[in-house]
Amino acid sequence: MPEFPADVPRAALPGQERFVAPLDQTPLAETGSFDDSRPPENQWKEAWKRLRRNWIFWVSVALLAVVAVVVLLPQWFTDLDPTYAQLSRSLEGPSEGHPAGFDRQGYDVFARTIYGARASVLVGVLCTIVVTVPGVVLGAMAGFYGGWLDAVISRVADVFFAIPLLLGALVGLAIINNLWPDRGYWGSILTVVFALAAFGWPQVLRIARGAVLEVKNLEFVDAARAIGKTRRANLWGHVVPNSLAPVIVLATVSLGVYIVAEATLSFLGLGLPPSIVSWGNDISAAQNQVRSGQRLGVMFWPASALALTSLGFILLGDAVSDALDPKSRNRE
């Protein structure tokens, strides 16, 4: 929305051929009326307004709130120690006090699922953040400014993209494990995050770049430019919010995929150490049971927890991308 400076003279200006009626004396003021003391419109604020009115948003918030409580306070949900194994009860079915039974090692599956949330959600969320932020920033710049900046950014991304995600992470983790063997809880999680993210960000970058390329030619961008917005303000205030939808989709789906990728790395002895309980670890450990048809519940619990968490983030993503799309009002 254009801003009218308050000190514009209302009478004929020198050099004007004809008198132009002051704005407040024309009916135009009625049609185009707006409160010019109001702060400038903000895409992000508007989006937040729309978001609050969307019930899907609240469903996802409720779901994620539950996940957050489990992550922060697992001891509220079970008294059992997820690292205590009774091999003699290996693969036993559900029983009193053990609603999900035991896995092959004789761990309580329910306790593992509850305690596994922390590491898995951390890996998923942190990976997604670490991948998305640089991906969006660089991708938006590459797409918006084009030229040599695009060439440099895109080709640097290609360098990392050319190295397959899992293989790159595999080698990276082997190196880190060797240099820094005992990293503790946060050390282990962060290294897994960075190993996966190091080769994952170019994908976000490419999607963001593509979306910005598409959006930057739309009418409202030209409009914003016409009213004197700087290119930078235009990029971050108009172009990026309107190109985020595909990035959000990518990010929310990736979140679950990263949790599973951690499992693959752990399976090869490179991800989180066995002392850290995670869904990924338990899902991959349960694979053999699925094949031999023994106790599918061993996989069902952590996989369901992962699916529900994924659902929470995907719904949140849907709600946010809806809210960021100003046209979405028409759909209500």
Partner: protein, 537 residues
């Protein structure tokens, strides 16, 4: 439920077979006849990791092929006892200088197998400039160093002497009564003259003297072998050929056996261990095996040397419930160890004094640990390292450390190395700083092979740097002894090991194999391998 599954599986196999006939070039045809000796057997294999050269093939994928296309001086029967094969006689007065006379054999290219064929092959394998992976096996022969490499670069082994076309003489560094037993191993096979002209080309299309000849090696796909009509040894082919189909994952091979596309898989994958015995779509085979699993605790590890170390090692051994792990983790496909070797070895003795340390006893374990704590309290945690690329390692190491946690009340945890290479590097440069998994597959059928190379002072595979003079002496005596006397000496040597526990024996891997329906005469030898030449269908 059960009957329904059978019916379903039966239909599936028939359907799959008819579908596959056209597509399958290797000809896994099921003509229904049980006596047809010309049916080609398809077997699980892995792509050879090296050119197929006898002196350079030290892994299973290539080893299986080499064993079928070559014949050595002796061959092993399924039970591990040996018979003369290419050798007419192998004799020695002093167990040090051996005279070997050959029968009249020829390679499949028509050239004769001569004394020179053996001497040249061994010299090739032991020469530094050839960098052959099997060079280690020549270390008993005079003129080589401890790793079996010829001492002066560019010369030949001083211990080998050609007497005439069919006779040669081998001089050893030390007397060794068991020497002939080694000679059935692939490093001691002969090579034809043509090999030395261009070894690289030869490695792609080797020429041998064994029961089969290699007809085609399609990389990453299969190796096709047909019977060698001129073979006159102890292992004649009873089928129309053997084709190793190469897999990267035994799971997929198992599915192929279920569907009847593969005749034999010699090691059921971990995912099938629980079910393969009851699987109606396959024939299951299970029998005791020779490969053993151990954990080695280096002497240098803090708290694990001297008297304190002995007590702790015994405590750990007694805190491990081998029965439970083999049952729950391996579904009974491994058998708890009863000694440092395998019950299949000819010199095996039951109940060697001291072997009760392998029995689970949580109270005794706690007592021993407490006793050690009196000498010096235990600090830190007990870590067992393994390589993550070996299937199933993670599961048992985790179960084992959990038992130590529960039964000794100490901190114990697994530590993964990504690759076998990484683990072995840490082990060989002695920087590992933890206990680690080890295992042994015997090179020849003798208890000695489980002891000498692993626990002898300064021995090549003595990863834990164990050293005991008395033990060394007993082994030395055992080498030149024979029969019962030798078995007694080896048992005595094991008594010392049970006391010191340089490594903690865990279990022997059983043969757990599957064959497709209709496959017959499947028999496993002391190396846990099927006797491929006897399989028919």
């Amino acid at each position: 439920m059960r009957t329904r599954r059978t019916a379903l599986a039966g239909i599936a196999i028939a359907a799959a077979a008819s579908l596959m006939l056209g597509a399958c070039s290797s000809g896994g045809d099921d003509d229904g006849g049980s006596d047809s000796t010309d049916a080609v057997i398809t077997a699980y294999g892995t792509e050879p990791q090296n050119p197929l050269i006898t002196t350079n093939t030290n892994e299973v994928g290539g080893g299986n092929i080499i064993d079928l296309i070559y014949a050595g001086l002796v061959s092993y029967k399924a039970d591990g006892s040996q018979e003369l094969e290419v050798a007419e006689s192998i004799e020695s007065e002093d167990n040090k200088v051996w005279t070997i006379k050959l029968k009249d054999w020829q390679f499949t290219d028509g050239t004769p197998v001569t004394a020179q064929s053996f001497v040249d092959a061994w010299n090739y394998g032991a020469a530094e400039e050839n960098a052959q992976l099997q060079s280690y096996f020549y270390y008993p022969i005079e003129g080589t160093d401890d790793e079996g490499v010829i001492l002066d670069k560019g010369t030949e082994m001083s211990g080998l002497k050609v007497i005439d076309e069919k006779t040669f003489e081998v001089t050893l560094k030390n007397p060794e009564a068991l020497f002939p037993l080694r000679l059935g191993y692939s490093a001691y096979f002969p090579l034809p003259e043509v090999a030395f002209e261009d070894m690289e080309a030869f490695g792609k299309a080797p020429i041998g003297n064994g029961p089969y000849k290699l007809e085609k090696w399609e990389n990453n796909v299969e190796a096709v072998m047909v019977p060698n009509p001129d073979y006159k040894g102890n292992r004649p082919a009873k089928n129309g050929g053997v084709t190793f189909k190469f897999y990267t994952n035994p799971d997929s091979a198992y599915s192929d056996v279920q569907a009847g596309n593969l005749d034999i898989l010699d090691q059921a994958p971990p995912s099938a261990l629980a079910t393969f015995k009851d699987d109606d779509s396959v024939q299951a085979f299970e029998s005791p095996g020779t490969v053993n699993g151990t954990i080695t605790i280096p002497e240098s590890l803090k708290h694990f040397s001297g008297e304190e170390g002995k007590l702790r090692r015994q405590a750990i051994s007694r805190a491990i419930d081998r029965e439970e792990i083999t049952e729950k983790i391996f579904e009974g496909t491994r058998s708890p160890s009863t000694d440092f070797s395998s019950p299949l070895m000819p010199e095996y003795r039951e109940d060697i004094p001291g072997s009760e340390v392998l029995e689970f006893d949580a109270d005794e374990a706690k007592r021993l640990w407490a006793e050690a704590d009196e000498i010096q309290p235990f600090t830190g945690k007990f870590v067992v390292a393994y390589n993550g690329d070996g299937p199933g390692n993670k599961e048992w190491v985790e179960a084992l450390t959990n038992q130590l946690k529960n039964n000794l009340g100490i901190q114990a945890e697994p530590k993964a190395y990504a690759t076998f290479a990484e683990l072995r590097t840490k082990v060989t440069d002695r920087t590992i700083g933890t206990a680690f998994r080890t295992g042994w597959q015997p090179d020849y059928p003798s208890v000695y092979n489980y002891l000498g190379p692993i626990f002898g002072t300064g021995a090549g595979s003595n990863d834990g740097d164990y050293s005991n003079k008395e033990f060394d002496k007993l082994l030395q005596q055992a080498l030149s002894a024979e029969g019962d006397e030798q078995a007694d000496l080896l048992a005595k040597a094991q008594e010392i090991l049970f006391e010191d526990l340089p490594a903690i024996p865990l279990w022997n891997t059983n043969v757990a194999a599957v064959a497709a329906k209709g496959v017959e005469n499947v028999e496993f030898n002391w190396q846990n391998k099927p006797e491929y030449q006897n399989i028919t269908k």
